[in-house]
Symmetry: C2
Subunit: 472 residues, 2 copies
């Protein structure tokens, strides 16, 4: 439900959503396929150190813990109330949570506004707002943080720790991101499913992300904004310090209906231009596809903004260079020729390629490129004062030593990191490239399996650079 700006009492209490000392799980179940069991199992398995109080009127124990009949029977204070009971019981649980002076309510239960029960949902919101009990959800998957060993919801595993905070209305997409985190070294600081966002909204978690020391980039997956003004305010407050990425779905004709059916998100009367305008005002970086969402968020989490258009691409694959330069132009940031960026560099870089290489930009050091040639070319490009950012690509030919080139890339990155220029890698191929990507990401270098993904990432860094310029 609409808010005008991020509310202070909500932002203050969000620490109880991600770092509570005690949790009551209302609707705790003895059956291991049930949400009310999975939550407790997930908390324990991932190393939650606080107290867990299962609430179940018909059980003595759940997952080995003593169960309570109601919230009010718990003898100690409770920070977070996690609710997984049928929709018609939720109101009663919230009343008990208020009586118990809980700090935060999270409602996993579905079947509210998204199936037409808008009034029921609104009554919960109004009740919670009146009593200043922030409510997250309903209809959500959960939340967590790998830094806090906190996994609260029906979530199979934590992501690896890293720079991206993900705020998502979709549970499934959030879970997909957590899976990708492990298999692709996509590091996250915290994650939260907002579901129907009856009360707590994007704006408040964005401000929380701004204050969170682990978060370097905030990624928002949006099915509909009830409170565009609050989103804009939260972003404008955050963006000078940390970039915000926005993926908005539900804009297509059928998507408008699907977004309502999914998270009760209202999209009637809005269109892509409407959201373009919001994101522009907010200074958020809009992306189009799920892959781009992950790729751009990682780059912004790991690298500084790109302060100018002079990107140099170094590759041992002419084809990868072509895919990249076409894509740079297609998405509005054409590469410039190396001789026009730095004539000296275009001469010097010749030393690191065979006769049939090309210093054009993409700089094609050719399929025969050795680690020494990569080192020389990277060294020259990174230190040149006319170069704003470097994109380096490895294609494993029969003579390419991929691990050695990866080590060189890391060495050169570390050497010139102080200059504050973005460095991105593309490793296009099979198993050895996947390993290369994993290692590079672990060293803070965003790396991708295709040319177009790495270009999207670099252009995302430029967009952030331009947003910061505009802010002065």
């Amino acid at each position: 439900m609409k808010i005008d700006a991020p509310r202070e009492y909500v932002v203050d209490n969000l620490k109880y959503a991600l770092n509570p000392s005690s949790i009551a799980v209302v609707g705790a179940s003895r059956y291991d396929a049930k949400v009310g069991y999975k939550v407790i199992e997930g908390l324990s398995r991932c190393g939650y150190k606080g107290k867990i109080y299962p609430v179940n009127p018909r059980a003595d124990k759940v997952h080995g813990l003593p169960a309570y009949k109601t919230l009010l029977d718990i003898p100690e204070p409770v920070d977070l109330v996690f609710v997984a009971v049928p929709a018609f019981l939720v109101k009663m649980v919230l009343e008990q949570a208020v009586a118990k002076k809980a700090k935060m309510a999270v409602i996993a239960t579905s079947a509210f506004k998204e199936i037409g029960r808008g009034e029921l949902q609104d009554s919960l919101t109004n009740y919670c707002r009146k009593h200043k009990l922030p409510l997250i959800g309903p209809n959500l998957v959960g939340m967590g943080s790998p830094y806090l060993n906190f996994n609260c919801g029906f979530i199979p595993y934590l992501p690896i720790p890293g720079p991206v905070a993900m705020i998502s209305q979709s549970g499934a997409n959030l879970l997909a991101a957590l899976g990708t985190s492990k298999t692709q070294n996509f590091g996250m600081s915290f994650f939260i499913g907002l579901g129907n966002k009856a009360d707590v909204d994007f704006a408040e978690f964005i401000v929380y992300g701004k204050n969170d020391p682990y978060t370097k980039c905030i990624a928002t997956y949006i099915e509909g904004l009830d409170s565009p003004e609050a989103y804009i305010k939260a972003c404008r407050e955050t963006v000078p310090e940390k970039p915000v990425v926005a993926l908005k779905v539900g804009g297509s004709k059928i998507g408008v209906k699907a977004a309502f059916a999914h998270t009760a998100s209202e999209n009637v009367g809005t269109d892509d231009a409407y959201y373009d305008d919001i994101f522009e005002k907010a200074g958020a970086i809009r992306v189009t596809t799920w892959q781009e969402f992950l790729d751009v968020a990682l780059a912004l989490g790991q690298q500084p903004p790109l302060k100018g258009d002079n990107v140099v691409m170094i590759t041992n694959g002419g084809g990868s260079g072509l895919l990249a330069c076409d894509h740079f132009e297609r998405i509005g940031m054409p590469l410039r020729e190396l001789k026009d960026i730095s004539f000296m560099l275009s001469l010097k870089i010749r030393a690191y390629m065979p006769m049939f290489g090309s210093p054009l930009n993409p700089v094609d050091i050719s399929g025969t490129a050795s680690p020494v040639q990569y080192k020389g070319a990277l060294h020259q490009a990174m230190r040149d004062s006319s170069v704003d950012g470097v994109l380096c690509s490895i294609c494993p030919t029969a003579v390419t030593n991929v691990p050695a080139v990866v080590d060189i890339a890391i060495e050169m990155y570390e050497t010139y990191k102080y200059l504050g220029k973005p460095f991105i890698m593309e490793c296009q191929g099979g198993a050895e490239c996947h390993e290369a990507i994993m290692k590079l990401r672990a060293h803070g270098i965003p790396a991708y399996p295709t040319a177009e993904q790495s270009v999207n990432a670099m252009v995302g860094l430029r967009k952030y650079g331009k947003i910061l310029e505009k802010l002065g």
Copy 2:
């Protein structure tokens, strides 16, 4: 160099490029980092059963095989001459190949037209055409086929066997595809690097692909077409039987120069619309990014064309459904509501979802969906006569049994395969989804990790359906 149509003597001889009984490697090297060594090593390692004749005037043996001073010293006939000597020696080798009555010449050597030596390259072409010795290259990586255990070039490994023939001007991109083949279960029938295509052109390999029993889809990566008429003719001959996918690069301002520097491809005076027109005349399916190239080619290799617009999407993730329906509309094939496709189906499918599911289309059977619910929904959708194709998505929530759903999907696909409707899957997440994708692909079901990729694949199948309709 330009040809007007695929030449019969060339097409006939291409079997010696991919299935020769004997190969001479001119420029065979004793040093294991050299191309002239890698070729022989690769042939042996991958199980080539024919004869290999290393040619090296200064060696007695290469890789354990007796070496010959020149081609003419080889006592037996030679089908394929693989040339990896410096550019200025190539003409002499070709003269010997003609004298030796070789069936096919492949020139790996670089530094011809792409660095300004157009005359030298043209003289080779003219010589070979005069003597009807087809020449592949120069400036290429090699070729092979997993069905024939044939790996000829500087290629680290063979792809897994499968339906896609890949004809690529870029060696690095081709190698990347081979790597992806193993890690993503992307099956290939044969592959060929064309390089500068001084003589043998796309057209001839397309016709070869049409005749090749393992090939179900022909994927062409193009940096420039010297012979658009021949490409169109070859495609028009092939497309009624097998689809052709086209990725054209080098269209950007800097790409025009980069494509020339890479494979001497001429793009001056052409633009995207020029190539749109060629591909439309050819009946080839144009794609934009490398990922789309792989994704669409695999779908066309594994599935029948989509004969109408009535696609039903079944998902347990509302978010994945939203990404998909927005993308369907974005790329010009909006989903229709299920009730408008088949009112009965929209009622029946309700039985396989909870109250908060949605039969809209995407059909959201919700995050709690069991394998039985997937089975029911798939069964209803696939057998409905109004449905032209089915897209099914799995998002691993804490209660999703991914392997069981995969088995159900395979069972339903096998059951209804006879109806000739495309079936595509999306498995969005981490390690278990990667395994799911590998298994589904091994069973002939194109599966992808994101909604947008699976939509691109489905739309590719529709494009082929429309091309076939147009051909009557």
